[in-house]
């Protein structure tokens, strides 16, 4: 019995192996490294990660653990792999502890934000993934329309630079922005209204 069955089983296995190998070699260059697109990551996160349960904040898990969770979620939700990796990169980029003071001090002192404008920084860091700014954006965070009517500029500055000072469990990423970048973003937000 066993001997009769064996060739069949191994044939099936071998066929499966061929499929697997073909698929993996086709998929081999999927994972090529490029700087993660945070704006897209934030948008995909806000599109997908609050669908079944409340969105879980980037700071809840470390870089070491997010890949395990995002893979689990990818399988449950049937998320395309490329989107899952983009979300993972966004989460890993958004859970950072504050930069060491030396670095922050240096950045704050050395770097005026002349290279990228405030609205370019907003694009790059993906603020619209979670907030409506101007006339477009996601809904995980509050709309930033009318922001300056309800908040003091100093308060907003703290929120952008160190959101955890206002809410220790915030979903908002800690980007470690310099003073100059923060000012540029603040001005762009004021202009967008």
């Amino acid at each position: 019995m066993l001997r009769l069955r064996r060739p069949n089983a191994s044939l099936v296995l071998r066929a499966l192996l061929v499929v697997v190998l073909a698929a993996t070699s086709a998929a081999a260059n999927e994972a090529e490294k490029a700087p993660p697109d945070l704006a897209r990551g934030a948008r995909l996160y806000s599109d997908n990660c609050g669908r079944c349960h409340n969105a879980r904040g980037p700071a809840e898990y470390s870089d070491a653990h997010w890949p395990l969770i995002v893979t689990h979620m990818r399988v449950i939700a049937g998320l395309p792999g490329e989107q899952a990796r983009t979300i993972e990169a966004f989460l890993r980029a958004s859970n950072n502890p504050p930069p060491p003071p030396r670095r922050l001090g240096r950045l704050a002192a050395v770097v005026p934000a002349a290279g990228l404008s405030g609205s370019e920084l907003i694009e790059r860091y993906g603020c619209r993934g979670c907030h409506v700014i101007g006339d477009a954006g996601g809904s995980i965070g509050p709309s930033l329309r009318g922001l300056f009517e309800r908040r003091q500029a100093d308060w907003i500055r703290v929120q952008i630079q160190t959101p955890r000072e206002h809410n220790a469990k915030t979903l908002m990423p800690l980007y470690g922005l310099s003073d100059a970048e923060t000012s540029a973003i603040l001005e762009a937000l004021r202009a967008a209204r």
Binding site: R6, T24, P35, N54, H65, R74, I76, G81, Q83, S178
Partner: protein
């Protein structure tokens, strides 16, 4: 006799050799991979050595220059934030190591009062385990430990919720095997953990855990292919799952022959009958998912066919979250095919859509979420059961709700119930 033993022996040896040859092939692959890795590492080491000697040579120059603090900052000379600088900082986030193992899961404590008793406390504890064997190969498992008050006895429950191996074949296809939560409709696979479910009890169409329903929240033993892909834009997509499982069996405790009372868990398979099924989910826009599910097969041993048809909907309309599901279970006997069907519709609204957390005490009102759920089942008798559940949640954290609910149950065996539950997803 002896020659027969010899033949069997030789046959076994050949089999073992064949298996070994496969293993050898695998091992060879591993060794080649390791060899490549070592070569790569060697290359990196050489690069590092080169950098170190350069740095060594530059030490005096650096010491003399007060501007050395800007080391690797790709900002231009007048200190602008360049796109390269921002990209580099983003890339820096990527360097942390990965872990192979994580424990997560959820727990809850609750109090339940039933119109004609028994009332009582209870809790649930569901630790989950995630292992990453490689980038593509993952294992996920979850246990369910709990106490349930049943009449005058308190019973300990230890259950396996799921245990599955996932192989990420391509970006749009994952192969999984083991004991997996059946991807039939939404609640069973995706919404039943107590920190996710917006009410302390499952929707009336779901049974198990002392609840009467049409289908249980259940895992089945088998193999599954699942995945998804985008359609016309980044935020319109579909997902799918196709599976084969051991056939369900007739519940053994039942003395009388009640149709449609199956044990879906059936492991090991008591016959070679199988069930198979599929679910397709469609998300034309990011705030809408429509799903259709089907499962059919033979009831183990009996030869009768069973059919499960389902549909599920999720829609987030300006912060009001709508969920609805329909299910119909039928069994085909020679002369009849009894069926049970039901549905539920749920709406919930988190008040932080209206009130921002301002740091003032009343900002906490944003954590409150009212929920309403209406459901109905009609069985083959036909008996009808209806349920209206009203709930009020307070989200202590995003994964920790304090839930209060009152259920009005009518129809056969319907008793009103009150729940207070605190749940924590960790």
């Amino acid at each position: 006799m002896r020659s027969a033993a010899l033949v069997v022996g030789v046959a076994l040896w050949v089999c073992a050799q064949a298996a070994e040859a496969d293993e050898l092939g695998d091992l060879r692959g591993v060794v080649t991979e390791q060899g490549q890795l070592i070569d790569e590492l060697r290359g990196e080491l050489d690069e590092l050595r080169a950098v170190q000697t350069q740095e060594g040579e530059e030490v005096p120059a650096v010491a003399a220059s007060p501007a050395s603090d800007t080391d690797s900052l790709p900002a231009s000379a007048d200190g602008e934030v360049t796109p390269e600088y921002v990209d580099e900082r983003i890339e820096e986030f990527e360097t942390a190591p990965q872990s192979r193992f994580l424990i997560s899961g959820y727990g809850d404590a609750h109090y339940r009062a039933v119109e004609d008793g028994p009332d009582g406390f209870g809790f649930g504890f569901n630790p989950g385990f995630h292992f990453r064997m490689s980038d593509r190969l993952h294992f996920n498992g979850e246990l369910e430990l709990g106490l349930q008050r049943d009449g005058h006895e308190t019973e300990t429950e230890v259950d396996l919720e799921f245990a599955q191996i996932d192989y990420l074949l391509t970006d749009w296809m994952t192969l999984s095997g083991g004991f997996f939560l059946t991807p039939f409709n939404a609640f069973g696979q995706r919404l039943h953990p107590s920190w996710i479910n917006k009410l302390p009890s499952p929707p009336p169409i779901y049974g198990g855990h002392g609840e009467v329903g049409i289908i249980p929240v259940v895992s089945q033993v088998g193999a599954i292919v699942s995945g998804g892909a985008t359609l016309w834009s980044d935020s319109s997509k579909f997902n799918y799952a196709v599976y084969v499982v051991n056939a369900p069996t007739i519940e053994e405790e039942d003395d009388e022959d009640v149709p449609l009372d199956f044990d879906f868990k059936s492991t090991p398979n008591s016959s070679s009958d199988v069930g198979y099924g599929a679910r397709v989910g469609f998300l034309p826009i990011p705030n809408l998912e429509v799903g259709a599910s089907y499962q059919t097969g033979k009831v183990a041993g009996s030869g009768d066919r069973y059919n499960l048809v389902g549909a599920d909907l999720w829609y987030d309309f300006k912060g009001v979250e709508w969920r609805a599901e329909y299910v119909r279970l039928s069994q085909e006997f020679e002369d009849s095919s009894p069926s049970t069907q039901g549905y539920y519709v749920q709406a919930s609204y988190r008040l932080d859509n209206l009130i921002l957390d301002s740091g003032e005490w009343w900002g906490q009102v944003g954590r409150v979420e009212p929920v309403v759920r209406w459901g109905q089942i009609t069985d083959y008798a036909p008996n009808e059961r209806r349920q209206l559940a009203l709930g009020l949640n307070f989200w202590v954290y995003e994964s920790a709700p304090l839930k209060l609910s009152y259920e009005l149950n009518s129809g056969k065996g319907g008793e009103d119930r009150f729940f207070l539950q605190f749940s924590y997803g960790f």
